[in-house]
């Protein structure tokens, strides 16, 4: 295949696309574009959901590394010493304890069971962005007692009737209101200091109070925790910190966020992977079939012309590449269209994410995702186009011309 042959093949391909059926060209490009979008949309969305869930879990549940009680024990004990030890290790930004107690909350005529989570507000700021999520009032001060911050879904909305609520609430608590918490016998009055909304369901249905307040509830200094979350410094890996903690005498159960995610979401991640594979497969098959049909029809309609071209001395390679190049041009345009569509869609979704109580998701696509999908679709297109192109180019002149 020399330069001249390629040039003629390209001229024939280009002219056929330019002067052939405009609508068939546009439709083909549209379909390839749609297939591309379809191929990347679901996986991108799942990635986005995954990213969003992961971030929320890190922010409100586990931190980068989570220290849990030793097996068989209920609490992480000797807390202050342990926190000091962890905080002094290289790569640790901050370790902060959590202690949760079940309570019944009363407000006017509403009664609700909730978890009250004690935190060290100052340290918590290093680990969780909770303090940035206040929708009214303010975040907890270090030594506040008798004050809580509560999630917006629990505070509720006074304009919604109880019967219409899709989630039980206190029916419209405002900052400054008094609520009563009862921890198995101990009854305490609290002032609602602030209301937050994180978008992470389990954080939004919890109440937070200070470590000092919980010590008053317990009636003693609280040198134990339910679990500790650790934020690591940039440049350190979770795995490194985990190993470091274990190596330097933290005998508690240390897990990285990824370990935990793997455990809790393993099945969900697997399902995502299957759905992604299916949508990729479907996209590739549709594109292949469509291009195969388009080019097959084109070759069948051009059989006589192919015979003529051969008769005047055009080699079969030139004829094959004529159709092959048409597919390549269509595929490039279609994929470019798909990339633009997906890109616009991802911009749109960045501003209008899919939001549910559990997560909010945008399209998450890395340049690598784009490149891989482009290549896969391109290769599929080339195969789909060259198969009929090859076949028709081998046909003998007599049968082609008689077509």
């Amino acid at each position: 295949m020399g330069k001249k042959e390629l040039k003629v093949a390209f001229l024939l391909a280009l002219r056929s696309l330019q002067r052939g059926s405009r609508s068939s060209v546009i439709l083909t490009i549209l379909i390839i574009g749609m297939c591309f979008t379809n191929m990347v949309f679901l996986p991108g969305l799942f990635n986005g959901i995954g990213q969003s869930i992961t971030k929320q879990i890190v922010d409100y549940e586990t931190g980068n590394v989570m220290v849990n009680p030793k097996t068989g024990e209920q609490y992480v004990t000797d807390l202050d010493a342990l926190l000091d030890r962890i905080n002094s290790m290289p790569g640790v930004e901050r370790a902060t304890p959590h202690y949760t107690k079940a309570a019944t909350v009363k407000y006017r005529d509403r009664v609700l069971g909730v978890s009250v989570r004690a935190i060290k507000p100052g340290d918590e700021k290093f680990v969780s962005p909770l303090y940035t999520k206040m929708v009214s009032g303010s975040y907890l001060g270090e030594d506040d007692t008798g004050e809580v911050i509560i999630g917006k879904p629990i505070a509720g909305d006074p304009t919604i009737k109880r019967a219409d609520e899709n989630q039980a609430s206190l029916g419209g608590v405002r900052v400054g209101d008094s609520i009563t918490l009862e921890y198995g016998g101990i009854v305490r009055e609290y002032r609602v200091k602030g209301i937050y909304y994180t978008g992470w369901y389990s954080a939004d249905t919890t109440m937070y109070t200070t470590w000092s307040d919980m010590e008053q509830v317990e009636g003693k200094a609280l040198d134990k925790a339910e679990y500790i979350t650790v934020k690591i410094k940039p440049g350190y890996s979770e795995k490194f910190i985990k190993n470091e903690l274990q190596q330097y005498g933290v005998s508690e159960d240390v897990q990285t966020m990824s370990d935990l995610l793997e455990k809790s979401m393993g099945r969900a991640l697997q399902s995502f992977a299957i759905i992604n594979a299916v949508s990729l497969f479907v996209g590739v098959i549709i594109t292949t079939v469509v291009l195969f049909i388009v080019i097959t029809i084109k070759t069948l309609n051009s059989r006589k012309q192919i015979g003529i071209l051969k008769a005047i001395g055009v080699d079969k390679e030139v004829i094959m590449h004529n159709f092959g190049l048409q597919v390549i041009i269509l595929a490039i345009l279609g994929i470019a269209f798909g990339v633009i569509m997906t890109f616009l869609l991802s911009i749109y979704m960045a501003y209008n994410p899919v939001v549910t109580p559990e997560w909010s998701a945008t399209l998450y696509l890395t340049p690598m995702d784009y490149v891989t999908n482009c290549l896969i679709l391109f290769l599929a297109s080339v195969v789909a186009g060259y198969v009929p192109a090859y076949q028709v180019s081998r046909e003998d002149i007599q049968s082609a011309m008689r077509a």
């Binding site: 020399g2 001249k4 042959e5 040039k7 003629v8 001229l11 024939l12 002219r15 056929s16 330019q18 002067r19 052939g20 006589k304 012309q305 003529i308 071209l309 051969k310 008769a311 005047i312 001395g313 055009v314 080699d315 079969k316 030139v318 002149i397 007599q398 011309m401």
Partner: protein, 233 residues
């Protein structure tokens, strides 16, 4: 320059055997304007296809300029057509998506011995010769049948082939257009000493031919110059 020896072409369809060519032997000289005539089904197209390397005989051989074309590979045949032959079809057979100029240049573009400059000059001069230089940017569908046939002749002529074949080039044309096309062949034949083998079954075309070969049932029944029989079969 063309040596045809005992050419046979037999089509078998089930039990039926059609002898489309039944022992054709002919010599065609350089510079001849040869007409192949005969009734429908007499084997004219079949013979021309054999000569144009578009089909293979059942037996017999064809030697063009010393080359036994039966021995050529598929690719060599393609190159033989590109470098030595020109072919004009009954239905013009232009590429509908290419302009007049692109159609005419196409065979030249594939030749290794032609550069851009020569392709342009050759295409332009042949288009001028057929009188359609001004229409070079038109698409075939924008031309009349006679004009399209002239373009198809230009395409066949652009590489200055040794032999020009034409299978009923006037069959789809009115007599006025037919005359224009035949005059063009005559001119090409006289100006370039171009060998032309043309199939026709219109009686009045014979005035243009130097030599007329008549076929019947796949056999040569007469072969003569200027209407006089050279030999009778």
């Amino acid at each position: 320059m063309i040596d045809i020896n005992d050419l046979q072409k037999i089509y078998r369809m089930g039990d039926v055997e059609v002898r489309a060519l039944d022992g054709v032997t002919l010599d065609i000289q350089k510079g001849e304007f040869l007409g192949i005539m005969g009734a429908s089904g007499s084997g004219k197209t079949t013979l021309l296809h054999m000569l144009g390397l578009l089909d293979e005989p059942t037996s017999g051989n064809i030697i063009i300029d010393g080359t036994d074309i039966g021995r050529l590979s598929d690719y060599e045949k393609t190159m033989f057509r590109l470098y030595k032959l020109g072919y004009v079809f009954q239905d013009y057979a232009l590429v509908p998506d290419l302009t007049v100029m692109e159609n005419v240049s196409l065979p030249a573009m594939l030749r290794k011995d032609r550069d851009e400059e020569q392709i342009k000059n050759d295409s332009a001069s042949i288009l001028k010769k057929i009188g359609l230089y001004e229409r070079q940017d038109h698409l075939p569908r924008e031309l009349s049948g006679g004009q399209q046939q002239r373009v198809s002749i230009a395409r066949a002529m652009v590489n200055k082939p040794d032999i020009l074949f034409a299978d009923e080039p006037c069959a789809n044309l009115d007599s006025e257009s037919s005359r224009v096309v035949l005059e063009l062949f005559k001119e090409i034949n006289e100006d370039f000493n171009q060998t032309i083998v043309m199939v026709s079954h219109e009686d009045w075309h014979k005035d243009y031919f130097h030599r007329i070969v008549r076929l019947k049932d796949g056999k040569v029944i007469s072969d003569g110059f200027n209407g006089k029989d050279k030999k009778a079969a």
